[in-house]
């Protein structure tokens, strides 16, 4: 089943490991769409400025990502500038220029409105709510959010939460949202807010899945070299929902495998800057890493 992703497109300038890249492809919609594209037909709804390099559109289309929902607006593309020091888990934002992203008001085609799998990547909860009003009968709605919206738009965020099936969130954000310090207690509070399924991402320490009384916990894929962790969460989300939609079956078993695929896709992503590694994968590499993941964790 095809999936629709609504999120941001950015041109990122990133410093990590004494290397620097400038105006590289980034944003939640890009990481998640590229990741999902290995599993299923993927459409993006997002906004870019007229300075957005054509080569990136070509890259998306080369991966058969439907860019008919990518609005090109007069003005500049969203820019993010970040720096990682020793701790590769946390970027320090040096500069954010929203530019045309300030005017993001998603318009959905008839085809997009009929999407069965919807990923509302991290954007303003008002926009997420608006998109939910447009999509007709989605089978699975997955939401991501961030600390900013928990702090500044909590009631709006809570109204979206009531309408989604699954929330993907970082551990710190889960604790902030639930006001609980224990991850399981957090999960109980959050699932009462609406989403029946919850995925808590723990960066290099893995991820946990909560569904009714079931818990599933995985470590991250062990990596000897990590270049740049930007977009790891979005890449996880893309692999996760991409795999689920390719199964078109929502059980605890498929959710567990989706967690592993999400984790694997994120592990590829952090091995290079921007979408370099993520956009040049083969299905065989993904399958092999899935097998290795099993080997690393099975007893």
């Amino acid at each position: 089943m095809a999936i629709l992703i609504v999120g941001s497109v950015a041109l990122d300038t990133i410093e990590a490991n004494n290397k620097k890249i400038k105006d590289a492809l980034g944003g939640s919609a890009m990481y998640s769409a590229m990741s999902a594209s290995y599993f299923t037909k993927t459409s993006v709804v997002a906004i870019v400025g007229n300075d957005f390099p054509c080569k990136y559109i070509h890259l998306l289309n080369h991966h058969k990502i439907d860019t008919s929902g990518l609005a090109v607006s007069a003005g500049k593309t969203f820019r993010w500038m970040g720096k990682y020091s020793c701790n590769l888990n946390q970027a320090k934002t040096i500069n954010t220029k929203l530019n045309v992203f300030l005017d993001f008001a998603p318009v959905l085609s008839t085809e997009h409105k009929n999407s069965k799998y919807l990923f509302l990547a991290n954007v303003d909860p008002d926009i997420q709510n608006n998109v939910l009003n447009l999509v007709k009968k989605p089978k699975l709605v997955v939401l991501d959010t961030m600390n900013l919206w928990i702090s500044t738009k909590l009631s709006k965020l809570k109204s979206v939460l009531k309408r989604v099936d699954l929330l993907l969130i970082n551990e710190d954000e889960a604790k902030q949202l639930s006001k609980e310090n224990n991850i399981i207690k957090s999960a109980k509070v959050i699932t009462k807010m609406g989403p029946e399924i919850l995925v808590i991402k723990r960066g290099e320490f893995g991820a946990m899945l909560f569904h009714k009384d079931n818990i599933f916990s995985i470590p991250s894929y062990p990596l000897e070299s990590v270049e740049d962790t930007t977009g790891a969460g979005d890449t996880f989300a893309g692999g996760f929902i991409g795999y689920l939609s390719s199964c078109n079956k929502l059980t605890f078993e498929t959710l567990k495998k989706a967690m592993v695929y999400g984790s694997i896709m994120a592990s590829f992503n952090v091995e290079s800057f921007s979408l370099e590694r993520l956009s040049s994968l083969t299905k065989k590499e993904i399958t092999n890493r899935f097998k290795m993941f099993k080997k690393f964790t099975e007893f």
Copy 2:
């Protein structure tokens, strides 16, 4: 196969979760021995003062732990006072009084010298080296250490490392010892220092096992309530080596299961202060948690 544990015995005063206990049984030898006792015959070599409560000796003997190597010296037992604030992973030491532990010079009986499984819990590397000189033909020597010895007695510690089969160490300490920031790179550096097998403990985030080119990674057992994390690493070690000695077979398969048993024992331990929970377990509870661990991680 029986195991011999050489380590510390302390009377701990601990504040955590707005509760406080005073002069409770603690120390690396106590946590690890109690944990190991569920798997195999366990002997301890340690030192206490003549103020050491008899009830603790009875508790150990009740668990069939051989205390013939527990020297009772004139003076006071080692005291440790610690406090946990929000972060239950890290205690703040308020006070340490080594007392009779300052004079700890292990004497081993003939039976202890013939031990096949030896756990050198965290004590001064000089003492660990001395014990190794006494034990005749151990089948497996497991070592634990801490940041203090890495900072102050590195060359002595390195000389012990050359003589052990397996090192159990925290992630931060592994990074400190290896001068590497990546856990896999750390493991490569440390295994070159001597121990063929390495276990890196990651607290609430699980643990990793490295053996030749094999890697095994587990999350921690999910717990809704954590009371006191004191002794979690030692409890892990006890369950780990206890299980291994009960198999008396050293393969990657038995090492992986030992990791899970170590993790499970630690999960029981942190559910209460001191050795309360750990000393009142049934084998059925351990087996059930092993099954649950499989359920939480299998896909």
